[in-house]
Amino acid sequence: MFEPQIMCFLCKWCTSGAADLAGTSRIHYAPNGINLRVMCSSRVDPQHILYAFRAGADGVFIGGCHPGDCHYVEGNYKTLRRVTLFSKMLQDLGIDRKRLRLEWISAAEGKRFAETMDEFTEQIRALGPLDLKDKVLKREVAKDE
């Protein structure tokens, strides 16, 4: 069975806290995600998202604070704007925009984090492997030759 690889960018103050809480509460979820903790979801650059896909991620997840609760006042609004525009671009670039997901999960919502991980894993599994790395490498190899 295809096991998707999911790259998760989690904000330190909220969603990473939720992931920790899921751990403290021993709530199990699919192991397909791997977390990168950022200070704020607004640190995530579309370049990072694209790089993740290229590096082998089948799905990318961004977790930030609920609107109004951002530790840095309005970072999550910036993330929202970026992801909204970028997901359209993704579609145009040939990557199904459903592979990119933005969620507001607060540090108190450990269970929700786990459920979201499970749900997203299944969604990506249904979409199938992205295989961007192979496609890009094949082209790079072809160029060099």
């Binding site: 899921a22 709530i27 990168l36 650059d45």
Partner: protein, 660 residues
């Protein structure tokens, strides 16, 4: 990403955490695997790394193996990051060379498949190796603190904060735009729930503030501009010309007698008159006359000159000019108070049309012994003593449709107080209050309100008022009595409206100058609604009193003392230490597009006018990274989480072959 990986000796310490990690992740296998991973010079696993022997082992290993950086793969960094940073410091390592890999909360505790959990742990650790290879050693940013405070607003909150900070031993400047300090509290007659004489408890504070060696009162002054940052503010203050030398004026009042200009007295809410040269009220601090140049017949050229002629002390000087000067302070407390919602906004209550429909502050002046009626309750139109006074609560408050949605907090209490005081002075009079709820939450408050009903026989009707109009000599008040379900028509001689508390008049301008945040109503925003109620999110600014939101005197005083304590916290530091993981500007790459400047919620970035590139104030930058993500040229990189580091982490987590 093809770049030369820097040479660094990284030590990896994998914790078993008993069976918490080791029970799921094969820690020995991982430690062995990572021995040969590029960049890792030493790799081991240990039962409880956070324990004393565990930490000692780390310290010893760093020294022995001459490590440049370490990775501790264990529980969440929120738990022990500081612990390991301290241990590493003891071994001579910079704390920013410590990486914590979370393989417990975010791996072993949430996955049951041991093989997958182990493979995930390897990926996590590899990512931290990639990051650690490029981590810089950083020093916290030191900020000097000027131990001097500025308080904007000389009301009860401002003065309380001033006195507390002064008692700590620090210098305080109090800037007050009116000719005297005292704020609204000095206008009140008695305060709830004790019916203390307001002026009697306020004037000692005013005098104390004026006499305190650490407090400098700058009355009739205004803040022009504020620049700088916490600990290092530069404030430009404008001294408005009083045309009277405070030090010489001896309050003989001869000038007032001869002044021909008569103006409504704002201290008495327009219920009486004053002259153009005046003293706002007898207990004014400083005790001096002030010439209101807007209402004077004219000074350029001098059209009258009578006041100067009669001044025996030669205190009057028509040549006084406005002076702007600069002061340096480390903290600013904003205590600018409130204003009352204008009666014009609720035309159907007739506040603008009828003299006998007044607001709470006007009634306070009528009740006050030093007011326009000498404390006798008379109505403004004809001076008759009203035999029936109607009080209307919630005028302009708690109204989501047209006016202000919030509750003004103090009206229930002061209306009960007004009704009681009226009954004390006019025992055969009738006091009727229209209310929605009665909010009496403080100490002694509910008992006070019960007293109004039981002892003073104040009538409370639950319902809103729809219209107030004049019929002959009487004011007719149409309302509803929701408890009986009937319409009510009351004949009154005078009506007192408990108008909503709104932001102070000059707030929009002041906020532009201070660049701090307010909510949609214009009340200043606190850093956190529950846990940080007296600080602004903008470092160095503190809030006290009604500028922050409607509150009564005990709360204003409490908040002011709290703000003073916070200022004390700031001033107690020799210097401020600020996290260095900020986002600097790479001069060579920056093209001056200024995108990053608008991104910053702390206004930490600006455009250098000469160089044409962005510059960052390291003290204001909080290191969120929003600008780094937006920078099109990569000139803005977050320290120890640069794009390069992130890309290398992504490669490590996603691209590499799995070795397990």
């Amino acid at each position: 990403m093809k770049d030369k990986e820097p040479k660094k000796r990284i030590g990896l310490f994998i914790c078993h955490c008993g069976i918490n990690i080791a029970g799921v992740v094969d820690v020995e296998k991982v430690a062995n695997l990572m021995k040969d991973y590029p960049g890792v010079s030493f790799s081991t696993n240990y039962v409880y790394v956070c324990s004393d022997p565990g930490q000692q082992m780390i310290i010893d290993t760093i020294k022995e193996k001459k490590l440049d950086a370490i990775i501790v793969a264990a529980c969440s960094p929120t738990l022990h990051e500081k612990t390991f940073q301290e241990a590493a410091k003891l071994a001579g390592l910079n704390p920013y060379q410590i990486e914590i890999a979370n393989i417990r909360e975010q791996d072993s505790w949430v996955h049951s498949d041991k093989e997958k959990a182990t493979r995930k742990a390897v990926k996590i650790i590899k990512a931290h190796v990639a990051k650690a290879l490029r981590n810089e050693s950083l020093q916290p940013i030191k900020v000097d603190v000027k131990k001097r405070a500025l308080i904007i607003g000389g009301g009860v909150a401002g003065l309380q904060a001033a006195l507390d900070i002064a008692e700590h031993g620090y210098q305080v400047l109090v800037v007050e735009k009116n000719p005297s300090i005292g704020g609204k509290m000095i206008q009140l007659s008695e305060t709830f729930p004790t019916l203390d004489c307001s002026q009697c408890i306020m004037t000692p504070k005013m005098v104390e503030a004026s006499r305190h060696p650490n407090i400098k009162l700058l009355t009739y002054h205004e803040v022009e501009s504020v620049s700088g940052f916490v600990g290092n503010f530069k404030v430009r203050i404008k001294k408005k010309p009083r045309y009277v030398d405070e030090k010489l004026c001896n309050l003989c009042a001869e000038c007032e007698k001869v002044c021909p200009q008569v103006v409504p007295d704002e201290f008495n809410m327009g219920l009486s008159f004053r002259k153009a040269i005046y003293m706002p009220f007898p207990q004014a601090v400083p005790g001096t006359y002030t010439l209101d140049v807007q209402n004077c017949l004219g000074l350029l050229p001098v059209r009258c000159g009578k006041c100067k002629d009669v001044c025996e002390k030669k205190a009057i000087d028509y040549d006084m000019k406005e002076v702007i000067f600069e002061e340096e302070v480390g903290a600013i407390v904003v205590a600018t108070g409130y204003d009352l919602y204008t009666m014009q906004a609720i035309g159907e209550y007739g506040g603008e049309k009828y003299e006998d429909v007044i607001n709470g502050l006007e009634f306070e002046r009528i009740l006050s012994a030093s007011g326009p009626t000498g404390g006798v309750v008379r109505r403004p139109s004809d001076g008759k003593i009203p035999k029936h006074v109607v009080f209307v609560q919630c005028t302009g408050s708690r109204d989501t449709e047209k006016h202000n949605a919030y509750c003004s907090k103090i009206c229930c209490m002061y209306t009960a107080k007004h009704a009681m005081l009226y009954k004390h002075r006019v025992p055969d009079g009738q006091a009727t209050i229209f209310y929605i709820d009665v909010r009496a939450g403080g100490k002694g408050f509910d008992e006070f309100y019960q007293r109004a009903i039981e002892e003073d026989k104040v009538l409370y009707i639950r319902g809103k008022v729809s219209k107030i109009f004049k019929e002959g000599d009487k004011l007719i008040v149409w309302g509803a009595d929701t408890l009986t379900g009937k319409k009510v028509e009351v004949e009154a001689d005078m009506v007192v409206l408990a108008m909503a508390m709104v932001k102070a008049d000059g707030i929009p301008d002041l906020l532009k100058k201070l660049k701090i945040q307010s909510d949609i109503h214009g009340f200043l925003s606190e850093a956190h609604p529950k846990l940080r109620p007296v600080e602004s999110l903008n470092a160095g600014f503190y809030l006290a009193g009604c500028a922050h939101g409607p509150k009564d005197i005990p709360e204003a005083v409490a908040q002011a003392s709290a703000a003073a304590a916070k200022v004390g916290d700031l001033f107690a530091q020799k210097e401020l230490l600020h996290e260095p993981t900020i986002v600097p500007v790479n001069d060579e790459l920056c093209s001056g597009c200024a995108i990053c400047i608008t991104m910053c919620p702390y206004q930490a970035r600006s455009l250098d006018p000469e160089k044409g590139i962005a510059v960052v104030n390291e003290v204001l930058c909080e290191g969120c990274g929003a600008c780094a993500a937006a920078c099109p040229s990569g000139a803005a990189q977050q320290r120890n989480q640069t794009d390069e580091q992130i890309f290398s982490m992504l490669t490590a987590m996603l691209s590499e072959e799995e070795h397990v």
